[in-house]
Each structure stands twice: as C-alpha cells, then as structure tokens.
Symmetry: C2
Subunit: 152 residues, 2 copies
DNA sequence: CACATGACTTGCAATTTGCAAGTCATGTGT
DNA sequence: ACACATGACTTGCAAATTGCAAGTCATGTG
C-alpha cells in the first residue's frame, strides 16, 4: 500500500479475513498442520488456506518444514517476527471479549486483561520451547442461547 | 464467523483492507469527512469507502452526523466502543514500525513503544475533547529511495 | 442564478473467494 | 508387495467482492 503508514503496512501483510486466524492458531492453540487449520472451526477453504500459508511464509511470518515423524505432514511455525504479533493479537482478543458477544467467558477475558504481561510471557515461552498444549481452552458452549432451541 | 473466538469476531467487524485505516484516520489524524478519507493517501475507491462507513456505523464503531457549519458535510466520529480499539491499533503500529520498512521514523516508533500509556491517554483526551489536531505527523519523506527520480 | 463541493450511487470489468473434486507423495495394515 | 488411507495441496468454475469512471443530488458561494 502506498501510504507507508505502519498500520497500512501491517494490513498489507495480514489484513484479510484469514491470516490472523492462522497466526492465532499457531500462537495459542498449538496448531501446526494444514488439516488442523482447515478444521479450526472457521471454515476456511483449502485453496485459500494454501494461498495464505504461502503468503505468510513469503513475508517471513511463518516457516514450513517437513515433519520428522511423518513425511506426509508439514509443520508450520511462527518466526521470531511472527511471534511478536502476540501483543497486537492479545489486544484484539481483549477488545472483542469486552465489547462483543463471543464464546470466551467474561471472567476469562478479564483475567487476560489483568495479566497481559504474564500471558505474553507464557506465550513466548511456549513458542520457544515448542510447547503445543493449547494456551486457550476450546470455548465449547455457545454462550447466549439458553435452550437447545434452534428456531429458524 | 462461526468459531466465536474474539479474534474471529474482531475480524468480522473490521478484518479487511480498509476499515482499520478509516479508524486510524479518525483516531490519530483527526479526519472526519468522506473526502478526507478518500484523500488519505491509501487510494480507497469511493463506493468501497461509502460501504465501509456504513458498515462501521452499523456495528457501532462510528457515528455520522451532519456538520453544523456546512450542511453538505458529514462528520464521522468514533464511538466509545470505537475509541477503545486504540491499544490494538497502537500495537499494530509498533509492530510494523519495528519489523517492516515504513515511513514512520525509527525514533518515533521507539517513542511510542516507551510511552504507550501516555500515547493512549492523549489519544483518549483528543477523542473526548474533539481535538482534531493530528497526533501523528504526516511522514512526508519516503525513507529508502535515495534517487529523487520521480519527475511528474 | 450559475457554478462549486461534498457525499455518495451506478454500471461494469477485473479480481478474489468459495465449494467440489481431483492429484500426488507418503504411510499403514495384511 | 499391494490395496487402501492420509495429508497437503491443485484445478475448475460459479459467485461474490473490488476497483475504476462517470453520474446524481442536495447544499453552499460569488
């Protein structure tokens, strides 16, 4: 983009509907493979996913390498540049958690808000140690539909 | 989006190439009108701009009102919900300022990084008081093209 | 009253997206 | 060894979204 504003530059790299979700999956859910991203519950199409992974790699946010244990599988991982998106992602998380209807429980969002630094430190630790246990639980229950009713 | 993750919800609201730039213009450049956004240097098309303004209003991030001094003009303004995107935007700014080639001088980015809280406080003050002097200077010079080769 | 101006529409053409259905190189069970 | 899985992608389109260029339309201004 031509303005050269840092915000604008950021959007050039990951300013679309999917890129940040891939980064989130890598950062806090411990996802590594193509099929994990595909089944992440967001419904991304495989051609778009392939395209975004290529793009994120080309701009240096992630790296891809063949898995040692299984030659069919490819493991994606955030680069040092990629992992430093954590503060921005955390702020987005907190913002929507406070202002929108999401599946993240309120208390959980408040915890993150109070412990930003601890969360970021833990995120970084997990990245360094390749610890892929999810930092954030799966948010199973839909929050505001009291009955199992689906009136539509 | 179906996952209900706060990040995903955020992207539903402003996860495209333009929305955040409009929010940035409102937040730190003091822009208020359609034509200011159109001439912001990012090159947005007028139909897209109209569409995004409508959308941002419909999700409660901005409000529009006819200007008192000039009945042709419409002033857009961030809502309380909109202005609280400041921390997220600031992190994006800092991230790209550190990791990418932008027009924001390094020292400037470092200042923001060191004084996050002061910057956010000032941003909020400006919003409350409707102070529309730009918080961030225009970043005139292109940083890394030594040749002045662009004779128009 | 004849222009400007600001804020949008409208009409397309060019992209970009989203399925569905392959392909292709491994791995696995018998 | 051979028949199937599996994981990671392509390919082929149709459908939706974008990006110009060119209006429209309600104010303002000299």
């Amino acid at each position: 983009m031509r303005s050269g504003c840092p915000v604008s530059v950021s959007l050039d790299l990951f300013g679309d509907r999917w890129s940040l979700l891939i980064i989130r999956d890598l950062m806090v859910r411990g996802y590594k493979t193509f099929s994990e991203f595909r089944n992440s519950g967001e419904g991304i199409a495989t051609n778009i996913l392939a395209d975004r992974l290529r793009h994120l790699e080309s701009v240096g946010l992630i790296v891809a390498e063949r898995a040692a244990e299984d030659g069919r599988s490819i493991h994606y991982r955030l680069t040092p540049k990629g992992i430093t998106l954590a503060p921005a992602l955390l702020e987005l998380f907190i913002w929507a958690g406070r202002h929108e209807q999401t599946r993240a429980p309120r208390e959980f969002v408040e915890q993150m808000e109070k412990n930003r630094d601890a969360i970021l430190a833990e995120t970084h630790r997990r990245w360094e140690e390749r610890d892929s246990t999810p930092l954030i639980p799966p948010f199973k229950p839909t929050p505001k539909t009291p009955k199992g009713k689906k009136p539509r």
